[in-house]
């Protein structure tokens, strides 16, 4: 904005100004995929378009599990795909739209690779600019102390769960930093691929393992990550 011209530097990312209230609205997307107006897609929960009945249907955990069991993959909207994406951000930038359950990796030629993501159901709502501070392959997961106290199944892993197919962080983790400080937010894989597209009970930004491996292979440490303000809900830890 014009008054920026009065400042000699750009301000750092801003955090925590908006706590989300009520049920998160999740637009079910797909205008680009199905050629429909997105307005119709907006509802109180994630919705997906059923091409057989040509109706928008709610997409909850039960339906997600059923869909995944039947198709062995998430609905088309949440599958990795190249989409038109006009932006001033340079290729290699990650843009997270938690509201729509999409993560974009900007590509040359006004395109982006779009991945489906799962996000936290509630909690921290913030928008800002961070960067990938470091990455890990098959990362160790250490449950937060309160989870160890609350959840008996987490207790055996109080000192860390080694990386592997059952590890909640999945195949790769991208650790988000603000400057040189770890924000403790992560983009990571998941052993529960059907949760992509949902507001799951816990988790930062989760992607299915194939997608996080793909994203990890394409980005550099230091990559810029823009978290959009709309419904940007991220969890601390996992």
């Amino acid at each position: 904005m014009t008054d920026q011209r009065m400042h000699d530097s750009v301000s750092p990312g801003r955090r925590g100004s908006r706590r989300l209230t009520g049920k998160r609205l999740v637009a079910g997307m797909l205008a680009a995929v199905f050629g429909l107006g997105a307005i119709a897609a907006i509802a109180a929960e994630t919705q997906v378009f059923d091409p057989k009945t040509r109706e928008w249907v709610s997409y909850d955990r039960k339906k997600a599990l059923k869909y995944y069991a039947r198709n062995n993959q998430v609905p088309e909207a949440f599958r990795r795909q190249i989409v038109p994406f006009r932006t001033a951000e340079k290729p290699g930038t990650i843009i997270i739209d938690g509201n729509m359950h999409y993560l974009y990796l900007v590509q040359p030629g006004h395109k982006a690779i779009r991945y489906g993501i799962g996000v936290g159901r509630e909690g921290f709502g913030w928008a800002g600019i961070v960067r990938v501070g470091r990455t890990a392959e098959w990362p160790t997961w250490t449950p937060p102390a309160e989870m160890v106290a609350r959840d008996p199944s987490a207790r055996p892993w109080a000192n860390g769960m080694p990386g592997g197919p059952d590890n909640p962080l999945g195949a790769r983790a991208l650790y988000l930093y603000e400057g040189d400080r770890d924000t403790i937010y992560r983009i990571h894989g998941t052993p529960e691929p059907w949760t992509i597209g949902l507001d799951v009970s816990s988790g930062c930004i989760r992607m299915n393992n194939d997608d996080i491996v793909d994203l990890h292979s394409r980005i550099d440490v230091g990559a810029k990550v823009i978290v959009l303000m709309q419904g940007a809900a991220l969890y601390k830890g996992v």
């Binding site: 307005i39 951000e89 959009l228 709309q230």
Partner: protein, 322 residues
């Protein structure tokens, strides 16, 4: 003074323009301040190269902030600032141009606009085309992205003084009641516009022109009642911490302008260059093209400037006419 090269773009690049990145080496004849925003970067390089091209001077284009640039213009370390925004920088203009007389602000200004914008879906599908439409909760509900039933509206970056004024405008018009006003860096706001357009969703946001977003997307400017000084009652933030509640602005922003500014010493030592600077008349469309080229197409400012000069010889000749 360097040898003056004419003709091809490559030659232009080799002409007498150095940047700070290439090292100080010998002191240049003139220094052009380069701001950190895209149109300022483009125009600084065009002006620097234009002076080198037309007057055979050795010009350095040096990146610096606005306050440093004005201090440099005052003390003789800087000769030109390519883009001084008014009324935003009127306090600096008053101090150095009006009171001290050490800086001259060119009379020509590029008109700049600020207001509220809508994505095509917000304008066409939801029907938000006028600021009045923001007072309709049924329409603004379509802008909801976090499930609380209220739409969101990006009003600017936390550091911008205009952001507080957008808050005043939201209160004065009344739409603050049914919209959540969101402050975030411009890159976050613009990426949100990109994502909204990519998925065909409606979004309304604070905006200004010239700006590359108008070239990137089919953005609609919301209609507003014309600016009226009598209704624009903004309490100075420095005077009162409760200035937002005490201010009122139920009308459009006034038109702003940005101008080339130059040191008084330049006018004495190089009156021909000062006359050239006074004639520079970039259009808003040209400035939009500049920001798009640098910000979206990621063109190198120096190369872009050389091409611009090569393809706008008539304009350069006009500006340099005695």
């Amino acid at each position: 003074m360097r040898i003056f090269l004419q003709g091809l773009t490559g030659s232009l690049l080799a002409a007498g323009v150095a940047t700070a990145a290439s090292g100080p080496a010998l002191a240049a004849d003139l220094v052009v301040a380069m701001p950190n925003w895209p149109s300022g970067q483009a125009s600084a390089n065009i002006i620097g190269l234009g002076i080198a091209y037309k007057f055979g001077l050795d010009v350095e284009v040096r990146e610096m902030g606005t306050l440093t640039a004005f201090s440099g213009l005052d003390h003789g370390q800087v000769d030109v600032h390519p883009e001084v925004w008014r009324p935003n920088l009127d306090n600096l203009v008053k101090k150095y141009a009006d009171d001290k007389g050490s800086v001259t602000v060119s009379l020509r200004g590029v008109p700049a606009w600020q207001g509220l914008c809508a994505t095509p879906e917000a304008a066409e599908t939801v029907g938000i085309r006028d600021v009045k439409d923001l007072n309709d909760p049924e329409k603004t509900a379509a802008l909801d992205t976090d499930g609380d039933g209220k739409g969101e509206l990006w009003i600017g970056a936390p550091t911008w003084s205009s952001t507080g004024i957008e808050r005043v405008r939201a209160n004065s018009y009344g739409y603050a009641e049914n919209l959540t006003l969101v402050e975030a860096e411009e890159e976050v706001g613009m990426a949100a516009v990109d994502a909204a357009v990519a998925t065909g969703r409606p979004m309304v946001f604070a905006c200004y022109a010239p700006h590359h977003v108008f070239k990137l997307h089919d953005i609609v400017r919301l209609e507003e009642p014309e600016h009226d000084d009598a209704k624009w009652k903004i309490v100075a933030p420095a005077d009162d911490p409760l200035w937002i509640q005490k201010s009122s602005a139920p009308v459009a922003w006034d038109i702003a302008h940005f101008h080339v500014a130059y040191a008084g010493a330049l006018a004495e030592d190089h009156p021909d260059v000062a006359a050239f600077l006074e004639k520079i008349d970039f259009t808003p469309a040209e400035v939009t093209d500049m920001t798009y080229a640098l910000q979206v197409d990621r063109r190198d400012p120096k190369e872009y400037a050389a091409e611009w000069i090569a393809s706008h010889a008539d304009r350069l000749n006009e500006w340099a006419k005695p």
